[in-house]
């Protein structure tokens, strides 16, 4: 295995990173005023690095987790306040101060992240804006320690006293944080941010806890801001005032993060440069310093009108590229061992009743899923099929009745915990996340990443593209099959497939049927298939339950069910009564 392969997905990051480090080193090491970081620009370069780090903190929340927070600068301020206090009252080493500052903001990250659990989207923006106003207000009465005297407290570490060296330090911290974020963003916790942004239900369906994912995102963002707060102290040599952390600063930051797309290292560096160099150029030429604000405001609007990726989405290393790996080979066939209907039930749904206000969506529904079989649930539109999945998988909690998996009652468990305990589902509307690769999406739904050969087999079996293919480049039908594959990756005991063939062509649909038939033998798991495609259901299921208006109207083998006149009437309406010539009323009684 050569180096490029071992680096895997990370290799595309190397180009921008090496480029950045070389340019920065050249700037620092060049003699006298020759380097672009000559003494006059060194302070600007420090600002660029620190602002870049703050932009990374705001950009990861908006760009990766889809959380609009207007208090990024407040986290920086809180950490800077703690650092200022430490500089005045304790003489600890610089790096210890930075560390304490970063740790000190974690409780605030948890507080705001905890609010984000309920308050998503724009409500979160409102809360964080009022939080930012509150923090600055409190700073007004609790001034920054040491800001009232003119003492110059050397807050920089030994060896990094000069502006050049301090820039180097800040820049290295920025690069390290950017790479760490990139690394973390490819682990399950980091991938989960994108999942939460895309769909909270699908996140829970993959066995991830939505509250934990959000709190985790805020804590990571707060720590990045906290580190920046520590660097701030050194930048301004210990004299900071609350005016630096006005809510407007957070708004500028969010706008610039949106404008460039600062969720990645290269985007953050660009945001930092914009936030430092442009004001400096304006300042030096005697132009108004307010223009950059106006520029970022308009830039953000422009970026949002283009779909929100920001400038950095156009960087060559950020553009999705087709995989160069070979398509995974399909594994050898396994004889689909048809297990006779009527075996011991692994999943037992008893007397399930769901009411939405006055409407009874499901009434006393009983379904048994025997081990290692494929059973089907069919019914006309609005019959209550998806409500059944929602209730059994924990997305509708106020139901009556029992859900028992393997003898274990599930009724008190959350959707996340049901998924973890071996009950997985797919959704009617596609929930694959376009920003991820095929392999990342599959690993999102398993506690530990699948071993490479197992992943290869899974992809091969479903005839999916290679693991490093970006989902944004595959077609919608294949994405749906990918969702089925992902739901099986964790080796669940039962998987609910909610209309997996919706939107597939006839050929793809037949192939999917073949695959579903093999699932029990290959994955040791039962399937409950919900489908409109009656042909598909009849082909793959050993038993079928028919629901209409929330009531089970028929149950049995495909042949029994499909020849049942009541079923035909439910699907085709009253006319069937005369055509078939059966006494449906009598049969119903």
């Amino acid at each position: 295995m050569n180096l490029a392969e071992r680096l895997g997905d990370h290799r595309r990051l190397m180009v921008p990173t090496i480029l950045l480090v070389v340019v920065a080193l050249l700037g620092v090491l060049a003699p006298g005023n020759v380097g672009f970081i000559g003494s006059t620009w060194a302070a600007v370069a420090i600002t660029a690095a620190v602002q870049g780090l703050i932009a990374l903190s705001a950009g990861m929340l908006f760009g990766r987790a889809g959380l609009l927070s207007l208090c990024a600068v407040s986290f920086v301020g809180i950490s800077a306040w703690v650092n200022a206090w430490l500089v005045v009252h304790a003489s600890l080493p610089f790096f210890v101060n930075v560390l304490i500052g970063a740790i000190a903001v974690i409780p605030f990250g948890i507080l705001v992240g905890g609010l984000a659990v309920r308050l998503r989207g724009v409500n979160l923006a409102i809360v964080t804006l009022t939080f930012a106003a509150a923090v600055v207000g409190v700073f007004g009465s609790h001034k920054f320690p040491g800001s009232q005297d003119d003492k110059n407290r050397g807050a920089r570490p030994i060896g990094f006293q000069s502006d050049r060296m301090y820039f180097l330090l800040c820049f290295m911290v920025l690069v390290a944080c950017g790479l760490a974020l990139e690394w973390y963003g490819r682990r399950r916790n980091g991938l989960a941010w994108r999942a939460v942004r895309s769909s909270e239900r699908a996140t829970a369906g993959a066995g991830l806890s939505v509250p934990m994912v959000k709190v985790n995102a805020f804590v990571v963002s707060a720590v990045l801001a906290g580190i920046a707060g520590g660097l701030f102290m050194g930048q301004y040599k210990g004299s900071i005032s609350e005016a630096t952390f006005l809510p407007v600063a957070s708004m500028v930051l969010v706008a610039s993060a949106v404008m460039v797309g600062a969720q990645s290292l290269s985007g953050a560096v660009l945001a930092g440069l914009l936030a430092s160099v442009i004001p400096e150029i304006f300042d030096r030429n005697g132009w108004a310093t307010e223009y950059p604000q106006i520029l970022f405001g308009l830039g953000a609007i422009q970026a949002l009108s283009q779909g929100g990726g920001g400038i950095s989405a156009g960087f060559p290393w950020r553009r999705p590229q087709h995989s160069t790996r070979p398509t995974p080979e399909p594994p050898p066939e396994v004889a689909a061992t048809a297990i006779a209907a009527g075996g011991a039930a692994i999943l037992d749904i008893r007397n399930l009743t769901v009411r939405y206000g006055a409407l009874t969506a499901l009434s006393e529904v009983n379904v048994k899923v025997p081990a290692q079989t494929v059973v089907g649930v069919i019914g006309p539109n609005g019959a209550g099929k998806s409500t059944l999945v929602d209730a059994v998988c924990g997305f509708v909690t106020n139901y009556n009745g029992d859900v028992v998996l393997n003898g274990r009652p599930f009724d008190a468990m959350s959707a996340t915990n049901r998924a973890r305990a071996g009950l997985r589902r797919t959704f009617q509307q596609g929930r694959a996340i376009p920003e991820l690769t095929v392999g990342q999406y599959i690993n999102l739904s398993v506690a530990k990443p699948l071993p490479a050969d197992e992943l290869e087999q899974l992809l091969g079996f479903f005839q999916l593209p290679p693991a490093d293919e970006p989902i944004s480049l595959i077609d919608v039908g294949t994405r749906r099959i990918l969702e089925v594959a992902a739901s099986l990756a964790s080796r669940p005991q039962v998987v609910f497939l909610d209309e997996p063939a919706a939107g597939l062509g006839a050929e793809q649909s037949a192939l999917l049927g073949q695959h579903i038939k093999e699932i029990p033998a290959r994955f040791g798991c039962s399937v409950l298939l919900i489908e409109h495609n009656v042909e598909l259901v009849a082909e793959v299921c050993s038993e079928i339950t028919v629901i209409d208006f929330g009531v089970v109207i028929a149950h049995g083998t495909p042949n029994e069910v499909l020849s049942n006149p009541i079923v035909a009437r439910a699907y085709l309406g009253e006319e069937i009564e005369h055509e078939v010539g059966v006494d449906v009323e009598g049969a119903l009684q």
Binding site: G66, L68, L70, L115, R118, L119, R120, G121, V122, N123, A125, I126, V127, L129, T130, F131, A133, A134, V136, G137, V138, G140, S141, H142, S199, E200, R201, L246, P247, V248, M251, V252, V254, A255, V258, A288, E290, Y291, P292, Q293, I294, F296, G297, L298, G299, A300, I301, L304, S305, G308, S386, D390, F395, F427, Q428, Q429
Partner: protein
């Protein structure tokens, strides 16, 4: 204590009025307009320039209202042209960009210098018992209530109200039924622009600086959230409550040194948080199936 509470009515009325406008643009335009006060502040500073040039103050105020309405109308037009299909989050983020731009423009032109703002209704002042009531207090307090009432009546009881609600609920359906959606959106933006400018005009003499006026959006948002972004009545109650608590809060310090007064700026945060947690207590998932 009581006179402090009454003094709080003036600020509370302004918060309530800003809150009512926020609720209106959310209900009709499906956006949280963070830039609402920012564009109004620009209009109010232009007004102060007119007054400095010797204009009659009422003429200057009318000019400010027209300008506030016009700026807001342009924003509404941009919104309906570029972002009519975007999510509430994206649309609201756009208004953050707009807010920043207005903030930059206002600061650039007026440099945050001390300005002369007309003290309206200053001749009106009377006492009820020991409590002094000023004209500004009555104007903002009654203004907020009357406008909330009018807006509530128009939305709930008139044909225009029905159309506006249709535009907010199902813009495409409304369009297909022959409603010129963008026209109504622009109309609502104009209206909220005029009303917010009026609110800022009333409170300008006591706020003085650009950031102080612009960030009236914070208590305004708090009031709107107390009204769940839906109820005009609760928004008014919320805004007035915030104003009164803010005004009375320093009292808490006097007897015992609790130090709560120092944390008065956190009031909006605490109230918004509590109100949102309460109103969203049952919502679990961010989308339907």
């Amino acid at each position: 204590m009581l006179d402090l509470a009454v003094a709080g009515l003036a600020g509370g009325g302004v918060y309530a009025l800003i809150g009512v406008c926020l609720v209106l643009s959310f209900r009709v335009g499906a956006v949280i307009n963070f830039s609402q006060t920012f564009s109004a502040v620009l209009a109010v500073y232009v007004m102060s320039e007119f007054i400095a040039h010797g204009w009659n103050q009422w003429l200057a105020i009318v000019a400010a209202l027209v300008m506030g309405g016009f700026i807001s109308a342009v924003q509404g037009w941009v919104m309906s042209r570029l972002f009519s299909n975007a999510s509430v989050l994206v649309r609201s983020t756009v208004t953050i960009g707009m807010a920043l731009s207005f903030f930059g423009i206002t600061t650039r032109i007026f440099h945050d210098t001390q300005r002369l703002f007309p003290r309206l209704f200053s001749s009106v002042k009377f006492k009820i018992g020991t409590v002094t009531v000023t004209g500004a207090t009555i104007a903002s307090f009654l203004g907020a209530i009357v406008i909330a009432l009018v807006v509530w009546l128009v939305l709930g009881r008139t044909r225009v109200g029905v159309i506006l609600r249709a535009v907010s609920g199902r813009p495409v359906t409304a369009e297909l039924m022959g409603v010129r959606t963008s026209r109504y959106v622009v109309f609502v933006w104009t209206l909220t622009g005029v009303l917010t400018t009026a609110a800022i005009v009333i409170t300008a003499p006591s706020r003085r600086s650009i950031p102080n006026m612009a960030f009236l959006i914070v208590p305004g948002l708090a009031a709107a959230i107390i009204g769940s972004m839906r109820s005009f009545l609760l928004t008014v109650v919320g805004g007035i409550a915030i104003g009164m608590i803010e005004s009375v809060a320093p009292m808490w310090d006097r007897g015992e040194k609790l130090g709560i007064g120092d944390y008065r700026p956190a009031l909006s945060f605490v109230m918004v948080t509590l109100a949102l947690l309460w109103s969203q207590r049952k919502e679990t998932w961010n989308e339907s199936r």
